[in-house]
């Protein structure tokens, strides 16, 4: 079950993340596998420990999925955490990935969501063969 990302795959994923950042004026964007592995990131994550951030994101989603099941829902497919200066928006991408956008008061949650929706189909098209080909 290996996930192999070619240079071309990474280039295309990065282009999608950059589109989200450019359209929404968000700070940084991450694509994270549900097992906690970082696939790609763009923007300025400053001094953030991206490995720890990815592990905690996957755990966060895992925990809230269990809450969803307790409520009779299959899953919550988006999460939003509001901070004093920065906010984080998490969105499910297909069955295996999570997109995370960090943004501040220069943009809005609505614009972030809209920007993600605009690239979602393209991103799924890139990811689908990667997961189908896994060994």
């Amino acid at each position: 079950m290996d996930i192999i990302l070619s240079a071309e795959d990474v280039k295309r994923i990065d282009a999608c993340l950059n589109k989200v950042l450019n359209k929404s004026a968000a700070v940084s964007a991450f694509l994270i596998d549900r097992s906690g592995q970082l696939v790609a990131n763009c923007g300025s994550p400053s001094t953030l420990d991206v490995s720890a951030f990815s592990a905690l994101t996957a755990a966060n989603f895992g925990a809230t999925s269990e809450i969803a099941k307790l409520l009779g829902e299959q899953e919550f497919n988006l999460l939003f955490h509001k901070g004093q200066n920065e906010n984080v928006y998490f969105s499910v991408v297909g069955e295996n990935m999570i997109m995370v956008i960090v943004f501040d008061d220069r943009t809005t949650l609505g614009l972030v969501r809209l920007s993600i929706n605009m690239i979602m189909d393209e991103l799924l098209q890139i990811l689908s063969p990667i997961y189908q080909n896994k060994g």
Binding site: I3, I4, S35, S51, A55
Partner: protein, 215 residues
């Protein structure tokens, strides 16, 4: 499920420290964290309770250096050992590439070790992984307690209880003193990298590599 990124020439692997409650999984990670330099490791993340019991997991990422041009990054996780946290253990095992089974050498923990190993086999099987084929290392921890008068199990009893069928590489350890911690880490890293290499070669993708540097 290793991530092989040919754009960055980077391989990310996930290693999980498994075992019953209070067997020393977190102590292993803490020792590694304290003894590695900042430039090769990330932040140690622990989600635990006031009583030092891990409630979710501990996490530490390490850069093992370059092997045949690939940067090898391993992500070390622990699971909560208590029986009732099984859902969390399953979550942490998602995408696992290798397991260190930490056994508590105390005689009183004999059954708990066996229960935990059976639980590991069951949870791996649910993810279509076999305990017999996944890279696995046994660590018999708390050997130092014998000197303090505690009754501990001889190594051959632990081997018979836990490793007679699996025949995984095994190490005695005192994680609190650091004995056996890096030997265990080095062995599991070597096995995981070898396993990943084999899979890539089987798929005819990428270059071959062997050996583990950096630790």
């Amino acid at each position: 499920m290793p991530f092989i990124n040919f754009s960055k020439d980077e391989i990310q692997c996930k290693i999980v420290y498994y075992g019953c409650g209070f067997c020393g999984k977190t102590t292993n990670l803490l020792y590694i964290y304290k003894k590695t330099q900042e430039d090769v490791r990330g932040r140690m993340v622990s989600i635990d309770t006031d009583g030092d019991r891990t409630i979710f997991f501990d996490f530490l990422s390490l850069n093992l250096g370059k092997i045949r041009g690939f940067d090898i990054r391993v992500q070390l996780y622990t699971v909560p050992g208590q029986v009732h946290y099984d859902a969390t253990r399953k979550l942490v095992l998602k995408g696992v590439d290798g397991v260190v089974f930490v056994a508590d050498s105390l005689k009183t923990q004999r059954e708990k070790n066996i229960e935990s190993l059976i639980n590991l086999a069951k949870n791996l099987a649910e993810k279509r992984l076999s305990i017999r084929t996944i890279p696995l290392v046994m660590q018999y921890n708390k050997r130092d307690l014998e000197a303090e008068g505690a009754e501990i199990l001889p190594v051959d009893v632990l081997q018979k209880d836990l490793n007679s069928m699996l025949k995984a590489p095994s190490f005695t350890a005192s994680a609190i003193k650091g004995e056996g911690v890096f030997e265990t880490l080095r062995e599991i890293s070597k096995l995981v990298v070898k396993d990943v290499s084999k899979k890539i070669l089987l798929q005819g993708k990428g270059r071959s590599f062997s050996g583990v540097g950096g630790i």
